[in-house]
Amino acid sequence: MADIRLIEIKEEIFADNDKLAGEIRERLREKEVFMLNLMASPGGGKTSLIVQTLRGMKDHFRTAVIEGDIDSIVDAEKVAEEGIPAVQLRTGGACHLDAVMVNMALQEMNFDDLDLIIIENIGNLVCPAEFDTGAVRNVMILSVPEGDDKPLKYPLMFTVCDAIVVNKVDYLAIADFDMAALKQRVLKLNPKIKIFEVSCKTGEGIPAWIKWLRNEITAFKKSA
């Protein structure tokens, strides 16, 4: 019988993606462009939050959007209605955006003309959490109808995010959703995470979210 040899490898499976994501972040830092990666289940409110955010931000920061979500032609149109450039990614049934796809979209953008790029990731709570896109901040939207037990089902997502936006709080009165329990679960997984309660429909809570994001961008530009 032939001898079996053991070859040590110790290589990260996502090493290529992580390396490219790191390069993207470095380039963004040089050009002082803040990139936000927005993740949620389908229908959680990614496009709605982007539209609300653009309304609150565009007078202060030059913004562009990378649209990766499945029904993103419609989403890109909604963004375009706000007078903001949107780059449409054709993801062909992919379950997440990775650094390669984001990099393709970035090649169509001029960093000198931008302060903020928002990525609408593909609607999915599992896969996007595993792939670094090169974003400076990761944010997850959790909508009230999805329930308060999501941190138990998708713990990885909660450990990679810097903030959670609990959307559709206008449903709280009729939904069986325990906000205190949710917060407790989320903070256990990630004590540094920021939690915002908003309704993209009524506009409730949006100013606090915008304020946080503006502070993050300003701090990033100062440190860049």
Binding site: L6, I7, K10, I13, D98, C127, E130
Partner: protein, 116 residues
């Protein structure tokens, strides 16, 4: 859900190392994947069998070690494993403290391969 691209990456790395080592055949691939990853091991093997046909790695067995999710107590510094999908409350087994920070559980790497 993205087991296919993951498996493509694994195969790429495995073949690179096997060729460098002038191996005749890869018989085993040992992976370390943290409990926080939602990867389904069974699918890794299925995709690997499919993708590796006709390569040095055809027929290799993927052996996956799942590493636990570890938190560290902010009160006493003790590190302890947590079943994040089951427990609603994270408490330190040593001092009972309720404030703990995430340490590890997101590993995703290829440890070694066995070749002949």
């Amino acid at each position: 859900m993205h087991e296919l691209p993951v498996t493509e990456n694994i195969l790429k790395v495995v073949l690179r190392h096997a060729e460098e080592a002038k191996a005749g055949k890869v018989v085993r691939v040992s992976l370390r994947i943290g409990e926080l990853s939602d990867i389904i091991e069974e699918w890794l093997q299925r995709y690997f069998d499919y993708l590796s046909k006709g390569t040095l790695a055809e027929g290799a067995v993927l052996q996956v070690e799942r590493t636990p999710v570890i938190f560290r107590c902010e009160d006493c510094g003790e590190s302890f494993p947590v079943k994040v999908r089951e427990v609603h409350d994270i408490a330190c087994p040593s001092c009972g403290g309720g404030k703990a920070t995430f340490v590890s559980g997101r590993e995703f790497f290829i440890k070694n391969i066995e070749v002949i």
